[in-house]
């Protein structure tokens, strides 16, 4: 129950920034917000002066312009002020956050480690399995269906490894350490809700680490009110509808199901619009919906024609759930070799 209460305020999509579900993300949001206040103050202050000048010194008023420069230290103070404030932002906010982001990785025995391997156009994930050791990989073992990362079948460390394509499963409340690389071109591993972004560069492996907020499990998020409040009427345009599933079946007057629970809607705008129209004609203009899956890993670097749809689903669990997931993924694929 407590968790559900928490789940209620995970934020919504479409308002300012996406919900922040990571422990460290708050610092980033804070910096962004301070910066924007700073910018707003400068811009407004500067703007008032500007507009005042335009009105007061318009030529219609006659007289001649003033040859000698105005004296005054205001501009000097403003400039120095800007410089000092920038220094504060840099030293006081940005560098500590970045340092944390880059310097002290969580200790190896405490963290959940996973490798993320970019490929046109999917994310492959590689878990070390119960022994905590990644198996060796080599290009010659790559199989586009069963072994996208090229895990070496002869390596004992790899026997229990788990591979997934397009689905990242993570526990909440524990440090997560992702080692990012790519098989072909440069991709960028990004999870907007975790305030994480890191280029995936072939030939390099760069780690990032973060921790998901306690309680932010997929199950809770789907129940979270605020997370879904944007999506709750059929009046919402199809773009939103597209990623949602209805929470119950909706039928028109003749009883034909228009929108079935668990069904995603349409690929194109027309299809979405059509469904919405049908719903409205059936007298339904308010329906409850929730996102099919509220969290996504996306690719933030142009990587080819399907870059825009290169994404993976992110599923988050509490500890028990995570263990259960791991158990459920018997690495059969590996056994087959």
């Amino acid at each position: 129950m407590e968790l559900l209460a928490q789940a209620a305020d995970f934020g919504t999509y479409g308002k300012w920034m996406p919900p922040n579900l990571s422990v460290r993300g708050g610092a980033i949001d804070q910096l962004i917000e301070i910066l924007h206040y700073f910018m707003a103050v400068l811009f407004v202050g500067w703007g008032i002066f500007f507009v005042y000048c335009l009105v007061r010194f318009r030529s219609g008023k006659g007289g001649s312009a003033q040859y000698h420069p105005v004296k005054g230290k205001a501009s000097k103070y403003a400039e120095v002020g800007v410089a000092i404030f920038e220094a504060v932002l840099l030293l006081g906010f940005s560098m500590p956050v970045w340092g944390e982001y880059k310097n002290d990785p969580p200790p190896a025995d405490k963290r959940v480690e996973v490798r993320a391997i970019g490929e046109q156009f999917q994310w492959n994930f590689h878990y070390p399995g119960p022994d905590g050791k990644f198996g060796r990989t080599n290009a010659k073992f790559i199989d586009n269906v069963s072994n996208t990362i090229g895990l070496d079948p002869d390596d004992p460390n790899g026997k229990d490894d788990i591979q997934t394509i397009g689905a990242l499963h993570l526990p909440v409340g524990r440090p997560i350490y992702v080692r990012i690389t790519s098989k072909d071109v440069i991709h960028s591993f990004a999870i907007p809700t975790m305030r994480v972004k890191q280029d995936a560069i072939p030939g390099m492996e760069v780690p990032v680490w973060f921790q998901i907020k306690e309680g932010a499990t997929t199950a809770n998020l789907l129940k979270s009110k605020s997370m879904n409040e944007d999506f709750d009427t059929a009046k919402t345009n199809w773009y939103r509808v597209r990623h949602l599933v209805a929470s119950k079946d909706y039928a028109d007057k003749s009883g034909q199901i228009i929108l079935a629970e668990g069904a995603g809607i349409g690929l194109s705008r027309d299809a979405g619009e059509k469904k919405l129209k049908q719903l409205r004609e059936a007298g339904i203009d308010s329906i409850n919906m929730h996102p099919e899956n509220p969290l996504e890993v996306i690719c933030a670097q142009l990587c080819g024609n399907s870059h825009f749809k290169m994404k993976a689903q992110l599923y988050t669990y509490d500890d028990a759930g995570f263990e259960a997931w791991k158990k459920s993924t018997v690495p059969e694929v590996i056994e087959e070799f």
Binding site: R115, H126, K133, F134, G135, R136, T137, N138, A139, I149, G150, R179, T181, K183, P202, G203, M204, E205, V206, P207
Partner: protein, 110 residues
């Protein structure tokens, strides 16, 4: 510089001397390289000698010594940017904990 015919007459000898020095220095670099000294040493010697040679060419053949400071400043600026361009990418290698050039043939996680 727009020097007079007479002045130039005087320069001729200098040109030959520089020429001699350049040939000798070329010999030195090759000879040092033949000894297969350690790589660090070789780099230092080779670049040092090359710099001397380069300076000679620039100062005498290209008359850089006689030019006004404006040109020198422009070239110094150029040299500074060149150094930045050379060093910064190298620092990025140093900073990456995983190897920059690891070949993917191994794709290796360990």
């Amino acid at each position: 510089m727009g020097s007079s015919a007479h002045e130039i007459q005087g320069h001729l000898k200098k040109y030959y001397m520089v020429f001699g020095a350049l040939l000798v220095l070329t010999g030195v670099t090759v000879a040092v390289a033949e000894f297969h000294v350690s790589i660090g040493m070789a780099i230092v010697v080779a670049l040092f000698v090359a710099s001397i040679k380069g300076t000679l060419v620039a100062c005498y053949f290209m008359h850089l010594m006689e030019e006004k400071s404006m040109l020198i400043w422009i070239l110094a600026l150029c040299a500074l940017f060149f150094l930045m361009l050379l060093l910064v990418p190298m620092f990025t290698i140093g900073e990456q904990d995983a190897g920059l050039m690891e070949r993917m043939r191994g794709l290796s996680p360990n």
